[in-house]
Symmetry: D3
């Protein structure tokens, strides 16, 4: 099994019961999650040795984060304590035609206010196979833009594969800022989660009518030949509770696509993309066949939609059993 | 913004958790609602000055009604206190093929036992643009039959537009009684919610094979040329939790129909028609285009199905954002 | 109305809230049920005089069983008390593509440890019209294999019709053991629930391509001409919450099939087959037409999927109203 | 074991979660209960053959009543169906210094609207040892005043002991009306639940300073020498959740008093008096010693305060174990 | 009835179920509250015309605040919208010996970031009888220190009585900062909530052994002769759920003390002091007798402890009924 | 910090909501716990390196155990997988005078069926400071009687201090069996939890009237001079929710007693003794003063009563803060 470090912000999510507006909710469900933390949990579930690096306040919500990670067997060795607050966000759960609505309250968080490499003396990348980070982190501040690059560079030097999930968030930075940052980051990346919109608006690739993801993956790799794997999911949104999900993977200049999963009924969509990324990384570490890889990762992402919480809660064996069953019969 | 009075009965609804029979329920959800109250809430959400006129007992359930209305910014100035009881009704929530089942316990309520105009000295219609009432009110008693007519006549004289929702309930009166009452009420009405069954059984319009609502609206208006707007929804019931909903409107002798909304999954269907009526009234007050009107009202009705409770809980801006979004993606 | 005895094990079911894994559940829903107990409840709902024979420990969980049965008007006259424990099982509720997962903890139960006819002196079959038992009972132990046969033989002599639901469970015994037991039991049976897989693997009937159930029923009856009714449901599983269900019945050498019920959304699938069996037995006791019989039983099974718990909670009148309604409109 | 009939009204109770006002409650707990029904449940728990006679509407709430009684092994043979509605009442649960507040909505109920003996042809009193009724029943209407007397007279003739719980409710009738009715009923009663206030205000007994219940019991019996047992509880209310409870009994001209039970914390006080009455009747039927009787009944009443719902849910053995344990240690 | 303006911060409170640690909570209860908002709700309940001035973000949590206030009949006319976030705080509910623990996350809130009088043009004090503010507001920032004084001065000029609740919070400012601010504010105040610790540490009054509050009130008034009423509660904390509460009032140079309320069991202590302040202000506006005043206010504060939420939810009539009842008997 | 191994059975606890009988519970709370596991969690909370050795089935309930332990930072390195089932037990939560009632269903568990040292090759005691086990383990079977002794002997040889909690359970073995086993185990023990009843009935020490624990500790040590620490709590049970708890410790021939904690209101008493034991072990490892030790351990035990679940959920710092606070004031 591999040794993996993921680094990013983790937040408290407060979400409504479906059918209740946020402003009228008398109680809210509490979950902890964040893109890189969710990937960490997936990989720990699959048996890898995983570390989640972040910074949390030294209070009860910080303890909530620690217990969440420990329960999933993610090491908190690189989880720093300090700063003012844990970022929070509120989800008014959508249903049917009505979308889920996210309200962020993440400014001034312990993690966002980091301005220099606080893990410098801690041996963060020693013996590490993969370092995973997402585009949310450089979006948090100009300090974080520099720091993300520095961390990636250091990891690369230490021999890590660099995994990067673009995850563009327009509320955090502009397309221009993101594009400029990607230009310096992507040349150092090995595995990248990117989609068509990223290609068009953040990498300047021209749109081609009716082209599918294979086309854009090829173009992306032409720009960044260092990328050995590019991946993302295609999602057809029928309603908040019914989506079709298909995984795609560009590997060794070949394009792979999973079977389509009809997600009906969706319990909780948050973290679906992270479950896919976690599945791809596990597959890259343990499998040889691109089709197997994308099938595994998509099955993992599909399963994530069936449970509350940001994180995938299934072992590799459970994901495989799920892939191989052809019906939803009761398993007795 | 306009000034609107709606008048009718408001009740306590006690409903089951889906999947549990009423007789085995260890707890019941409590909501307050009624057709005219629900329309009042919709219009208050859209920024109008709205008054709900009714009568409730001077007890804790009456206070529940007051708090419900105040929270939604509906004025309780014309909410009389007195009488014996608040009407209640029980809903055994349906699911899949099984329908929801309603059990009324509304006899002897404070409102039903009104026998004369108790608002006579209160200036109920001063400066009011629209007076909205439904066919449930005259169905409550013979006193209410006379009183409804009297109120409409007074409102008309005071310069109000009269809005009337036929809302025939066979448990309260016969088709014959309803038809006779409508004959005296409808000549005074400006905006009327009526459907095909109303046309056939309450207005004596002959059925025409394969005719759609446009045909019946035209016939209704021929009978009552005073009606400037006639509207209702078409609902295809696939199951208790999956319906297709299309709004229709006859305005200035023109027929408009909204796009069809696929309601899947339905949280709570009660009050869907009232949300449509509220949307139409708002649209009549603020828009010029029939298509815009019916689109807004149908979107409002569709949104109502996504929340628990009898009332629409969305502002005009939220309804418009919903209309303009073309997917159920997470709104971050 | 008829007098019916059903005999079998009843267990405590502990199930998760949909969307939560069993290992992370902070609370579990508790229901009591078992195949034969569920059939007993159905028949009691339909107005028959029903006795459920079993053995439960003399503790609070045993009392839970007693209260469950009494509430549904099933007599506990033949419910013995003693032994060590009540069998339990855990259900991790599936959703969408993910199946429900059952974890049994039923070994060493009071019922399973019975080794001889403990009802011998109690007049179990006096005046009884139908004795119903399932293939789970002989699967519990070799003692139960002998005892089941003995009970059936005694019942037969006492003039009961014998109803037998094959209900093969591979975790309890092998196909070979089951087949040998069926060979001695089935010649005594009148009404049998059996499907294609039973025909193939437990009765040695050869598969015929594209043959439907009619073909297998005919073959089964050729083997066991004593069977006057053979029945089962065909289920197409679209997802854990969406199934299509069709009932089938072989009666007097004729094949009947119900209309297909689209079960969307399924609340709880456990006990669906028992509700079908209960419906068939009621129909055999009270109806003359095979089509009516299978329609009633399938409607009963469809309704079961709309409520939590193992047992059908609808009266014969409610099942019939459900059959005759053609939509899921609100019933006011 | 004895055969007992109790007769009276049963209602749906809707109560709040402690700490929540009724008008703001988003859900309410549902229980079924009524004085005589609660006594019936107690006696059925203790192993007697018990019938509860009443009238309920033929709807889902009526079914709720039936299931409630069946679960507790009370026969519904004399439970008539018909009429308009089931009485309901709302309880805003008190806590600490704040009292529970009851809001009745019981007028026009199926039971209250009975005007003649609808059980006349049903053999209500055949072989019955005790007929139990309370002062709430004659308070419901003038018809019920006559009918209660008629039923008691008939029962008496059939050889029943008459048990009567005065249970004066000032919202239903005046002290004068009650006093007049008691004057004709009490001469026929054998066992009577009555307290000091009943003696003073309904029987015209003069107050004597510092006299305890013994004094009043003696005076009551002087008035009605036919009374062989008079009983009630003394309750010191420290707060809504902390009461001291002592049972008292006048039997064969002797006064007995139980040890004082410190009820802290009280879960649900509704039905405490009925549990005491049920305990006394069981004790009269099965014990010989007055002290044992009052100890058993008070223990039963104390236990009732530890469970939600109107009814005592403990067997005679459990009551006795509770009496004999001298601590609240965990029972392993 | 009077016209009252209260001004301050309002926050979202997220609190645990008693018995569950914050870090392990899977759901949290949501309430909106703040000292001045809670006083506003109390006074609105008592029938006054009340305005709550504050600033909230223009998002769903802001809407939650608006609905909370409207439901309680507090005008939102002076509730500004804008800024970044709504302050939140978390309460890990204590039980028994364990205290409740509060975790604030209030920095950077819309209200805290106000730097100048944003109500200047809105006629905030027109016709207002009382302006109420607390010491939390000047503690928020140096801007707020200046602004609080400015608002008080303006209100004073407009003819308002000034009500000030010292409410010292050591996490927001030092004793020295508070003392300096009080020195300029208190000379303008009419009604002041202050206790012994305020006297000692914020006003420099010397401690006198065994002196009770009367002594300190006298000293405070010697310093600030403008104060016509000084008040606070004495609380003996037996445990998190059992407190004794006594109200005290210094009025017209006389000392009044309420009877002691034994609060057992406490549902929610947050807002108890605000309920007392609200009671005092109502009493000052409507009563003439100091003893009546302090009795009313203490009863209101005691009642607050029996409901969830920050605000008192009882009308003046309910408070008075509570004062006059001498037991916690069920009110039927 | 020290390295500690605890070994024993861990079970699934299913408990009722207070006020609901087990047989009527529609849902049950789920917790994992066991004496030695609870001690492990306490010590991990206090910062020690802790291993819990046990055996669990390889199913979802086993996974529940793993996640429970990981969340609390207890190593699962010695947690074997295999066997048939996880022991379960049901708790009907007591309230007021009514005791909690425990129903065990633990026979045939994976742990109970162990017959030989399955950790033999795993280095269970390498570098371990304390090995903790309880008297429940040898009570499970005669194999376990031998095996417990073998493990203790091996641990002793490896240099571990032996910690033993007598924890006699009459449902598992007789006093005679226990006494015989203790005679061979106690001579090897260093720290022992034992009370007066253990002294009398399991060690044959004679009762001395009015003697307190000091007397019995002295006698116990006379028998087993190897015991360096003997400890237990004295509990006065006022009701299920109100207990007084005092800790006692015999250390170096000196007797120490903590202040008495008034536990009112108790949330969950299960695991209180284990929290005391965990506190003593931590104190023995880190403190020098007997009084400090017993104060810490008793505070830890008191805190445990304020949270749901079997395990203490407080850090050493939190326990100390709790000891040093003298009231239950809100901590802001």
């Amino acid at each position: 099994m591999a040794k993996v470090v993921t680094l990013g912000e983790i937040m408290l999510r407060l979400s409504t019961r479906a059918g209740t507006r946020l402003q009228r909710s008398e109680s809210l469900f509490a979950h902890y999650g964040g893109g890189e933390a969710n990937v960490a949990v997936s990989l720990a579930n699959y048996g890898h040795e995983v570390y989640f690096a972040s910074k949390i306040p030294d209070n009860s919500l910080g303890s909530g984060v620690v217990e969440h990670l420990r329960r999933s067997n993610v090491s908190t060795k690189f989880l720093l304590k300090g700063g003012e607050r844990l970022g929070t966000y509120y989800v008014e759960s959508g249903i049917g035609e009505r979308s889920s609505k996210v309200l962020y309250d993440r400014a001034y968080s312990s993690f966002a206010q980091i301005t220099e490499n606080e893990w410098a003396e801690l041996g963060l990348f020693e013996g590490v196979d993969i370092f995973h980070v997402s585009g949310i982190t450089p979006a948090l501040s100009s300090s974080w833009r520099a720091l993300t690059l520095e961390l990636i560079t250091t990891a690369k030097k230490a021999g890590c594969k660099i995994s990067f999930d673009i995850n563009f968030r327009s509320k955090l930075w502009t397309q221009k800022e993101a594009a400029e940052t990607l230009q310096v980051i992507l040349p150092k990346v090995d595995y990248c989660s990117a989609g068509k919109l990223d290609a068009l608006y953040l990498m300047g690739i021209e749109e081609k009518e009716q082209a599918d993801l294979m086309y854009y993956y090829e173009k992306i790799q032409a720009l960044y030949p260092n990328l050995t794997a590019i991946y993302s999911t295609k999602r057809v949104v029928h309603s908040s509770d019914v989506n079709d999900l298909t995984g795609t993977l560009w590997l060794d200049k070949q394009y792979f696509e999973s079977k389509m999963h009809e997600l009906d009924f969706i319990i909780d969509r948050v973290g679906g993309g992270d479950a896919f990324a976690g599945g791809i990384l596990h597959a890259l570490l343990t499998m040889s066949n691109g089709q197997d890889m994308v099938d595994f990762a998509t099955a993992a992402a599909a399963l994530k939609h069936t449970v509350y919480g940001d994180d995938n809660q299934f072992s590799a064996i459970e994901v495989e059993e799920f892939m191989n069953s052809n019906s939803s019969k009761i398993i007795r």
